[in-house]
């Protein structure tokens, strides 16, 4: 309809274009109120993570300051004013433990993704930029990883390493990087086609310069989007491993572990599994909302 695509000599100029992009971004974000909601949820959890000791009614029940408390005489009290989410088999306040669990989950998410990205992106860049045999080989390797569901592989890896929290995070990262390698690889290929990379090569730019100046900026958007989407999923996998009995050591509150322990007391003590699970659900939901919003904003397709 409009002639916005026809760009002629008296072109608005970069500044104008920027403003237009900004408009577009804002427009898209407005189109997707969920992303704002997501942002709020995430902020909420971050807030909880930071101020858990002040919000939680019984911080010691969550092992705060290495002063873990147990009250076996109060075990399995149903939700009430003083125990919003009830108590567990050690009489600990589940509400407090869920709040403190936020710290762990966020940490896992961040560490895992940081690791995954710092392995995956370089691999993808190298494979994509060099192409040829090396590229093929690298991508084949990533394909191997991608042919097993992350949870399964992570399970195997974290058992292969002594199962403790750090190794669980390592394990998840170890099965995660291929996705970023794939993504980066794809982006690099498409970017490579574009002439200006050729150009900058033409004027004798070093490969590294090309990578950092031309390619990296282009893969940034999709990676950011994927990260925010994966954040939730990584937390989910970690929780699943916790559910399967791998993960944080007691008395550290870990949502997945809590859910699985609660199962032993179902249905009578329904609250034990229910509330930690709810927390997992909410945080993952938040990241999905946010990631989806970002996807619309940057208008990139990541799977």
């Amino acid at each position: 309809m409009s002639n916005s695509e026809t760009v002629t000599a008296d072109d608005p100029g970069v500044l104008e274009r920027r403003r237009e992009d900004l408009n577009r971004v804002v427009y898209r974000f407005k189109q997707n109120p969920m992303s704002i909601l997501g942002l709020c949820i995430i902020f909420g959890f971050v807030f909880i993570a930071i101020f858990a000791p002040y919000i939680a009614p019984y911080p010691n029940d969550a092992g705060y300051q290495n002063q873990p408390a147990v009250h076996f005489d109060q075990k399995f009290e149903s939700p009430s004013a003083e125990h919003l989410f009830g108590t567990d088999q050690a009489g600990r306040d589940i509400f407090s433990r869920v709040l403190f669990g936020t710290r762990l989950s966020l940490r896992i998410g961040v560490v895992v993704l940081a690791a995954a990205v710092s392995i995956g992106v370089p691999v993808g860049l190298v494979a994509g930029y060099l192409g040829g045999g090396v590229g093929m080989a690298l991508m084949r390797i990533t394909d191997v990883f991608l042919s097993v569901p992350p949870l399964v592989l992570a399970l195997a890896v974290s058992v292969a390493l002594e199962p403790n929290l750090t190794n669980v995070m390592l394990a998840i990262a170890a099965v995660w990087w291929p996705w970023y390698a794939r993504l980066t690889y794809g982006e690099v290929l498409s970017v490579k086609e574009e002439t200006y990379v050729e150009a900058s090569r033409g004027i004798g730019a070093t490969s590294t310069r090309t990578i950092f100046r031309e390619i990296l900026p282009n893969v940034l958007a999709p990676i950011t989007v994927k990260m925010s989407l994966d954040m939730g999923y990584a937390i989910l996998v970690a929780a699943s491993l916790g559910f399967l009995g791998l993960g944080a050591q007691p008395p550290t509150p870990e949502w997945g572990t809590m859910v699985s322990q609660g199962r032993d007391y179902m249905p009578a003590q329904w609250w034990y599994s229910t509330f930690p699970g709810l927390a997992i659900f909410l945080i993952v939901l938040g990241f999905n909302f946010l990631g989806d919003g970002l996807r619309d904003m940057f208008d990139v397709e990541v799977q």
């Binding site: 309809m1 409009s2 237009e20 427009y27």
Partner: protein
């Protein structure tokens, strides 16, 4: 003369996008008499297709919005009542599309698509069961429809019409596809046809074939047609009357001869200048661009590009259409107070500074 079969009055359409509101159509008036072929001519993006969509009732809403005006077909107001619109559109109207490459479903043989058009363009809905049957290829009067399709394709001079029905579009050449599209448009004997640049995507020789085929069909069945094109040459070949459109306004209306013999509106003249260069002429005949629809120029929308723009007038006063002789109208300040073409021309010269070239003759507009 009887009432026109189609009349569009003061039609205004706006589009909502993140850039703001586009005033795409601004009070368009348009009529098509029974059995008449009218060409709507203008640059790409001037609002031709929007006009067509509005008439066909396929204007995407949102973002599109009809802010004023009316469309009347054979006495029935279409905009007022959607059902009536759907019915009329289904029973009376049909459309031929621009790009034969994209207007056929790639995943079904052409026959299947034609059959659906034949079956459903009456506008009646389909039940889930009906759809299932359809998917399984069991439909009432299957054979009869197939007959009709074959016959039509044959009329469109398609070799081996039988086989063509079972081919996928990817297996057909552009020309063949366009013929199929035309056939599809005709399969339910519509009375009113809108052709939206049906030939632009084709190379010149094929264009001619399609045009003549189209012409035949129209005359044979005495159809009324609104033919949309940016190509005056084509318009001249097929149309009885021509409406020149610029930036969402009809700037000049007249019979084909009148338009070619004595173009009134400066824009029309610009267009005529550029005819010899058949290939997309935007900018060649007239400098500059179609204006930004978010805030169209005040006064006459053409004045920024108009060689004869009168400062203080054209850029200020909104222009309305002036009747010049019978069923001839032009929207230009030059022709206020019934000024004749001659007078107007001189004024234009003064404004343009320099003699205007001789009015273009029919020959000048002739096809290569």
């Amino acid at each position: 003369m009887a009432d026109p079969i189609l009349s569009v009055d003061d039609l205004s359409v706006e589009f909502e996008t993140y850039e703001g509101r586009h005033h795409v159509l601004d009070g368009v008036d348009l009529t098509v008499e029974e059995g008449e072929t009218v060409a709507l001519v203008g640059e790409t993006g001037c609002g031709k297709s929007v006009t067509a969509k509005s008439i066909m009732g396929t204007l995407p809403r949102p973002p599109g919005e009809i802010t004023s005006g009316s469309i009347t077909y054979d006495g029935t107001g279409l905009l007022a009542d959607a059902d009536a619109h759907a019915r009329v559109q289904g029973e009376e109207m049909s459309m031929i599309f621009q790009d034969p490459m994209t207007y056929l479903s790639p995943v079904y043989p052409v026959g299947s698509m034609m059959a659906d058009v034949a079956t459903y363009s009456g506008g009646e809905d389909v039940s889930w069961l009906g759809m299932l049957k359809n998917l399984l290829g069991r439909r009432a009067n299957r054979g009869e429809i197939r007959e009709r399709s074959i016959e039509l394709l044959d009329r469109m001079r398609i070799p081996d019409p039988e086989g063509t029905l079972d081919r996928y579009p990817v297996e057909l050449s552009g020309g063949m596809r366009q013929r199929v599209i035309v056939a599809m448009a005709l399969i339910n004997d519509p009375t009113f046809l809108i052709a939206d640049e049906p030939t632009t995507a084709l190379d010149v020789t094929v264009q001619d074939q399609i045009l003549s085929l189209l012409r035949e069909r129209v005359e044979e069945r005495d159809l009324s047609m609104l033919y949309i094109t940016h190509n005056l040459g084509v318009a001249r070949e097929i149309a009885d009357r021509i409406c020149i459109m610029y930036a969402g306004e009809i700037v000049e209306v007249g019979t084909t001869e009148e338009i070619f013999d004595a173009p009134l509106h400066p824009y029309t003249r610009g267009l005529l200048d550029s005819i010899p260069k058949l290939t997309g002429f935007e900018g060649d005949g007239i400098d500059g661009q179609i204006p930004d629809y978010t805030d169209p120029p005040t006064g006459c929308r053409f004045h920024p590009r108009c060689p004869a723009a009168m400062a203080g007038t054209c850029d200020v006063e909104p222009v309305e259409s002036h009747a010049v002789g019978d069923d001839r109208a032009v929207a230009c300040h030059l022709y206020e107070d019934g000024m004749s073409f001659g007078e107007a021309a001189t004024v234009a010269e003064e404004e343009a500074g320099g003699p205007t070239d001789e009015p273009v003759t029919a020959e000048a507009g002739g096809e290569p």
